[in-house]
Amino acid sequence: MAEDGTSGAVHLLCLAASSGVPLFCRSSRGGAPSRHQLPFSVIGSLNGVHMFGQNLDVTLRSARTEDTAVVWKTFHDSVTLIVLSSEPGCSELRLERLLELVFGAMVLLVGLEELTRIRNVERLKKELRATYGLIDSLLGDAELAGDLTQCVDCIAPGDGPLLQEALAGFAEEVGSVFASLVVGGRVVVGTEGWWRLGSPEAVLLPWLVGTLPAQAARDYPVYLPHGSPTVPHRLLTLMLLPRLELCVLCGPQPPLSQLEPQVLERWWQPVLEPLRACLALAPRAIPAGFSLHPDILGLLFLHLEQKRAFFTVDLGGEEGAPEWGAQHSMEGGSRGAGEGAASKVSLLLHPRSFPQDPPAPPPLLLCAGHCHPLPSRSAGLEASQGVQSREPQVPSTCFPFLLRGGVIRGKGRRAGVPHGGSPGLLCGVWGSCQGAGGPGGPRGWAQAGGDPGGAPPPPAAGEPPEPNACPAGPGHSDPARSHPLPLGPQ
């Protein structure tokens, strides 16, 4: 299915399950949205073979050609999503999750009812156009990892408590318990209510905000795939600074016109400098002033209980030790550096590592030329619980998550350079960040660092997350941890 030998194309097809009418197709190649479309005959056959199975009571879930993985999934007997990926090492599990997230995005923007009771296909097609931006970003190379980790991408602001206070005060004044600050799709601070949002909306809402074109303010009807799939809520976004959005999720009140500049200025002008500092942080996720071992090319920290994550492959510095203090210029500069780093790093995550395996392995560190594989229960690794060698001794198929197109494992900054290993890569790092960051910030993760010998440190959170901590997928609720309707009726 790959054309002209180009690797890394992803095609997503969405069809009405009963009629087979295509609702939309999106494609991405090399991480960027592409206009290339599959021929109609291919779409027809892909759907046909799935339907054929269905008539025989067989569910066709996935297939693999030499270079392409195909995954089918039908939601609520109404919408069928098909994804084809020729990205190297792309696993079925990853694609299945992608489809679930894409369906979540569709519910988020058009509501479950429209999707399950399709009355007017043309109308639905028009409405679904609103999802293209978000879906393209999910298919392509976002700077975010929430699709893989199922955790909310966060950044740790230098002045977390100050911003938290302003946010709480503002939220109270406008009468919503769901508010957050979002930079480039990552949450800076959120109210308690915001953190109670279920999955997948907790991941999708900031992601959506990060993909929308710049607007001073928005009053955006959204459905919460988990918490409220059929009753719309209002997502208000206020662009305090370019790329920095103040988000409020609410019911009929307050009207957008109530959030006047005076109200905003009263709460946010006093913290303007901390806000500006967040902008410079966006691609890097953690505050300046940390000196990291130069071999660390990227970081991923997951807090499985709180379902939040730091993810960055933009640690700055082209050569030698990353210059944490180096100020990135807000426009252009930092982005360029980030992309450079990103293209050199392959981030290897094991799909089974989280969140299904509750006593989950620790954050993964990335170093040039090698990685610390995560222990896993999956085949191939079962016997080797706690593989800790510097060179991953597991078949590459066990690392099916390859972030960012065209990445080749081991092509890091120091690829090929013999390495003595880096005991305590994070030594002293988290010690210095005590007190920084918002609630549930690095404090809880302090134990994660400083484990000598490069062995994966114990789970970051003190107590292992309870088995029920993993969220329900979109569309079905999890009784063990059912989320209250985020916004109860008045």
Partner: protein, 317 residues
């Protein structure tokens, strides 16, 4: 969960059967234009404010409130640089505003402007054009409400003062407006102006104007109302001939602008929109808008006579 339907923003009954009805009208009335119109409008190219002399005497004549080409003067250019950055239009967050050198400080006049019109007439495209952002090429219905802030420095004729206009455009998708009942009230609340858009290529959007005017702005007599004919670059294919426009203007006495919201010149990199060129494209619209809003304010403050006192007198003169 069973009580959730109590929610206010439940979808109002959505008329679903309107699809495709506009396609029929499209080529129904194919008009031949007197050559004079074509010459006039295609040499004009740019978008101007039309005023029908006597009939609209209560409205400010174009250029009577704001110095028309001031933005091209040396002084104007200096002010314009406060809304540009590296030759691009600057995007301002809600906590930001244009910064002027202390010696040229100017007052800011903020206005809320509600952009109304049928789906697909070009509301979002117009606002994007005014803000110097990429104009959507494919029609995506606007989801909910989006607001865009455009700063525009202008020089007043009367006092020689420079004012920074802060236009806050409220744009909402027609479909969203019909579906959710909280949207229209929010857009109308305390608005200073209504822009009623019709498209030169969609006759039904023009025919709908009277209904729009009464439905949307019927209860707001003292706000600025302007009619905007969009997709003027498609005038060759128009369904709205000039004589219908003339009749409309005589009946409604509203200012009319013609716009074409097409991407402007790009910078050397071939991708980024040239901020200055974009501003030159829309200066007439921004000036026209500012003129009516400023005038309206003066009338409201009793500084100049309003339409009621003025109109009969003018009719005779």
């Amino acid at each position: 969960m069973s009580q959730r339907k109590k929610w206010q923003i439940t979808p109002a009954s959505l008329p679903r059967s309107q699809m495709g009805s506009q396609g029929i009208r499209h080529y129904e009335q194919h008009k031949v234009f007197p050559p004079i119109y074509q010459v006039r409008y295609f040499s004009l190219q740019l978008l101007g404010v039309d005023c029908l002399g006597r009939a609209m005497a209560q409205l400010p004549a174009p250029g009577s409130v704001i110095v028309p080409d001031w933005h091209e003067s040396a002084e104007g250019k200096e002010y314009l640089s406060s809304i540009l950055r590296k030759n691009r239009r600057r995007v301002f967050g809600l906590l930001e505003r244009p910064v002027l050198p202390p010696q040229v400080a100017a007052d800011t006049a903020g206005y809320k402007i509600f952009v109304s019109g049928k789906s697909g007439v070009g509301k979002t495209a117009l606002v994007a054009k005014l803000a110097g952002l990429e104009v959507p090429v494919i029609h995506h219905e606007t989801v909910g409400i989006q607001t865009t802030i455009v700063y525009w420095p202008a020089k007043l004729q009367a006092s020689d003062r420079v004012i920074i206009f802060r236009f806050e455009f409220w744009d909402c998708g027609e479909a969203a407006l019909k579906k959710f009942d909280h949207i229209l009230p929010a857009c109308k609340e305390k608005t200073d102006a209504f822009l009623f858009l019709f498209s030169f290529t969609d006759r039904s959007s023009f025919d709908d104007l009277p209904a729009q005017l009464s439905r949307v702005a019927g209860d707001a007599p003292n706000t600025v109302k302007m009619v905007i004919g969009s997709k003027f670059d498609q005038y060759m294919h128009t369904d709205v001939p000039e004589r219908d426009l003339t009749a409309f203007r005589q009946a409604w006495e509203l200012p009319l602008l013609r716009v074409k919201s097409v991407p402007g010149r790009r910078l050397a990199d071939g991708r980024t929109l040239d901020g200055r060129a974009g501003l030159a494209d829309v200066a007439h619209i921004l000036n026209g808008l500012g003129e009516h809003l400023w005038h309206q304010d003066q009338v409201a403050a009793g500084l100049i006579p309003g339409p009621q006192e003025n109109a009969p007198e003018e009719e005779q003169g």
